[in-house]
Subunit: 389 residues, 2 copies
């Protein structure tokens, strides 16, 4: 399919920055991405911006034009919202604009600011990613929802908390060298198992943190990229989007995520690849069980086979398929609206050799994947990135 060239990428540090504004953080990421591309805000044709709860955390809607202005442009801009998949979907729709020939240079990304909401406020805000009438009012929080998925998975395929703990240990280990990561702290399997339980079978270290941060990429059309010498490096060659019922009660099984499968099949088809060609992956590990479900939904593992992948070392940095070399949501952090774009920035820099973990990417790896999910995977995007020169 038509390539969308990634001419530049940028992210802020992820962490707790209650005194920074959203526009300030997005401007930092977006201007870094433009600078990385050798472009300026005057070159930008459109802005696609993902954000989840800015209406609550900053009393700010209509953030598209606001963040465009922070980048120094009045180019047409919109906010795309799909809970934790907001910037994954923003990038998908940006890829379309570039492929359709409607725009030559697009800044696409996202931002979230939640630490200023306090823990209760952030929990309340995040709950809006679930069905308010049929889930939230019944007491479902996201740790509880993912605990239900973990229980269903264990029931279907076996396994236990120790298997999940290896996912957390791996992703914390990967984040140690990433100076933009929220949690740079080595942990052991025992640390995970002994941490306070938050929703059985999940404990505190099975969950990602609540983070502030922003991420952005600059996408270019093939013709613009060719004219301006930007047609090398890494391009998005496949894009897919999947859906599922919003409420868990309406699903046939809680042990699988068909929204991820739908997005993955569409992205592989779009890129003309098969899952076995994927050499590295950044997947949506908001909880440890989510990484397992993602790897199976993506077809990188058969159903029931991914739980032991981290324990067996297969998805570790020296394994056959390194997963979440950035540290993942689990340790890099999860500024909700920024996550999808941050994943794509990570895969791009990992493949280009400019990421702190690039030395873990084998020289023959030319295909990477980014998987972003909203809620309990009622929405998901998958992007395939390939080295093009």
């Amino acid at each position: 399919m038509t390539k969308a060239f990634i001419a530049g990428s940028g992210t802020t540090a992820f962490g707790s920055f209650p005194d920074r504004t959203g526009r300030d953080m997005f401007a930092e990421a977006g201007l870094a991405a433009l600078d990385d591309a050798g472009l300026t805000s005057a070159d930008v044709d459109e802005v696609f911006y993902g954000n989840f709860v800015g209406t609550l955390s900053e009393r700010q809607g209509h953030q598209g034009p606001l963040v465009a202005e922070a980048l120094g442009t009045t180019a047409p801009a919109r906010r795309v919202e799909s809970a934790c998949a907001s910037s994954g979907v923003a990038i998908r729709d940006a890829v379309r604009a570039v492929r359709a020939g409607d725009a030559d240079v697009v800044v696409a990304g996202g931002m979230e600011r939640m630490s200023n909401m306090g823990t209760a406020g952030a929990t309340d805000g995040l709950a809006r990613a679930a069905d308010d009438l049929f889930e939230v009012r019944a007491g479902v929080t996201f740790p509880a929802a993912y605990a239900l998925l973990a229980r269903a998975y264990f029931d279907a395929y076996g396994g236990d908390r120790t298997d999940l703990a290896h996912v957390a240990v791996k992703n914390h280990e990967n984040a140690l060298v990433n100076d933009h990561a929220h949690l740079r702290q080595e942990i052991t399997v025992d640390d995970v198992l002994e941490a306070p339980e938050i929703a059985a079978p999940l404990g505190l270290y099975d969950a990602c943190p609540i983070s502030d941060g922003a991420a952005a990429v600059v996408l270019c059309s093939p013709s613009y990229a060719a004219e301006h010498g930007l047609d090398s490096g890494v391009a998005i060659t496949g894009s897919g989007h999947g859906g599922d019922t919003m409420a868990l009660q309406d699903r046939q099984s809680l042990a699988k995520t068909p929204g991820t499968r739908e997005a993955a099949e569409a992205a592989y088809d779009d890129a003309g690849i098969t899952p076995d060609e994927v050499g590295i992956a950044e997947v949506h590990d908001c909880f440890t069980i989510a990484e397992v479900l993602a790897l199976e939904g993506l077809g990188l593992y058969s159903y029931g086979e991914a739980l032991g992948a981290a324990r067996r070392g297969e998805t570790r940095r020296d394994g056959a398929l390194p997963v979440n070399l950035s540290g993942g949501l689990k340790a890099k952090g999860h500024p909700v609206g920024a996550t999808g774009a941050a994943q794509i920035a990570a895969v791009r820099t990992l493949l280009e050799g400019t990421h702190p973990q690039s030395d873990a990417v084998d020289d023959d790896v030319t295909v990477g994947l980014a998987h972003n999910a909203g809620g309990t995977v009622a929405s998901a995007t998958v992007h395939v990135l390939e080295v093009v020169a």
Copy 2:
């Protein structure tokens, strides 16, 4: 440019429905649009959904998959937010998906539910369409912001409140036969001038109401439309999107809306038409002055010339260029996230002869325009619709 065929359209009644849910209203509009097209939810490839303050009014984010499910599908869905232009932008991005060949059948539209928020809550919610740091905290509400625009216009070009009153009288008159309109009440120029002042020079009847409601259209790709006999009626032939600074303080002039001009020029260029070919228009008249600014931004009138258009009768139903035959936001109502889609549904049915006001459309009129604006036109979309058979 490639056509996006409008195979069906549907709207709920607009009004005060505090006991209805957003998903219920959007399902009514979307299913009506699918039924109108002779299609079902099983035919839907994607959903593009506009909404502004559901995070506040229904404690509900992640509404894309939620409303898709209400339509009976788990097709990929996203929410697009650009304040009062949310569904205008949703439809723009849906048009791209259809043109890019990525989707054959798309439901695009929007919904807003605000009457359950109370007047203070709704005012607070609407304020999020302005810059929280530099406008809202300084006391700017939307009536006040549009009052500033009216004062700047009067300063630049002359005119007074009586000229604006004719816009309100016209749009109320147009809504009388529209059984989906929120305000079906004949008013006189004296009624407008004697109504309570809300922000000088604007009075109560210069403002649109706060409405609940939903609207949707079904868009089809050219190939799908041809295969399924849906390539007649009306198609979107031009789409444009414009931006401007968020805060009024950063504009060079408050008497013009360059965001509208940018969107209009892009849409005309896309459709290959000139403004003088437009036979009817639905424009974003959240306040009476907004209709005047829109007509000039759209190039349908020269700058400084549109203020007297309603008074002179030119934009009335029997005038040379009927504007807001549906009643406009002013009288049909303004459920924020639904408005852009409702305008497109109105232009389509007006051109096809199935709108209550279709008898006001001359037989030789084949081109209509829909103009949707966010905030004080920091974002705007323009769509050109043409009769294709």
